[in-house]
Symmetry: C2
């Protein structure tokens, strides 16, 4: 079995919602790409039992509701929400809102980058002399 899965999406900014867990055989996280139409919002407030969420705003503007606060969000904002945070999102009346949402189990990360990485001896064609 190969050590990877790859998919090509159509323009990420035009997707309404796509969930990647099953398509990519993810085991560490669920990742979705979402778009809320101008003036619309998620119809509920939710929290999580275990998972931390990280949101990348790809395009547009809107509002994040979090534990009673309402915060303006826009393209290139990135935010983390703890599992217990009560959250919802609304697109601005004049702008749809596109974002990536990553959910992964809070406190599950043990090491990362240099401490989790291992150098390998094999080389791609472009690194061979």
């Amino acid at each position: 079995m190969k050590n990877y899965n790859i998919i090509h999406l159509n323009d990420i900014n035009k997707l309404k919602r796509i969930e990647l867990h099953d398509q990519l055989n993810l085991t560490s996280s669920e990742i979705s790409i979402n778009q809320i139409n101008a003036g619309e919002s998620l119809p509920f407030v939710h929290s999580h039992k275990q998972n931390e969420e990280i949101y990348f705003i790809l395009n547009g503007e809107g509002l994040l509701y979090i534990d009673g606060e309402e915060i303006i969000i826009k393209k290139d904002d990135v935010f983390r929400i703890s599992p217990q945070g009560a959250r919802s999102i609304k697109a601005d009346d004049n702008s749809s809102l596109s974002y990536i949402c990553i959910q992964a189990k809070a406190n599950s990360l043990e090491n990362f980058t240099l401490k989790d990485g291992k150098l390998e001896d094999c080389k791609p064609s472009w690194l061979q002399q």
Copy 2:
């Protein structure tokens, strides 16, 4: 302590490299935003001890080396790599390559979306009658 952290990045597509773990107090994952200049590559091949990686190509074209294969990658490709996969990335000679890389512990996800979510009774201003 608040249940969230938020940062505003300058144009994601113009960042050389930024790591979000410490800035966002991430506990589930490390997320980086990366740019490889046209014609350049990561100078090594690496694998991971524990972490699965997911890459989102934001802009440009290039090549993914994975376990001896070389695969063309481009904007809106998304791929997952198992910890043991030996990987490297190169930007096309005519195009820089921007991508998000998420690393999180393989097999750590227990539930997600509906099974991990909980509805909350509180409401933002836009959902109140």
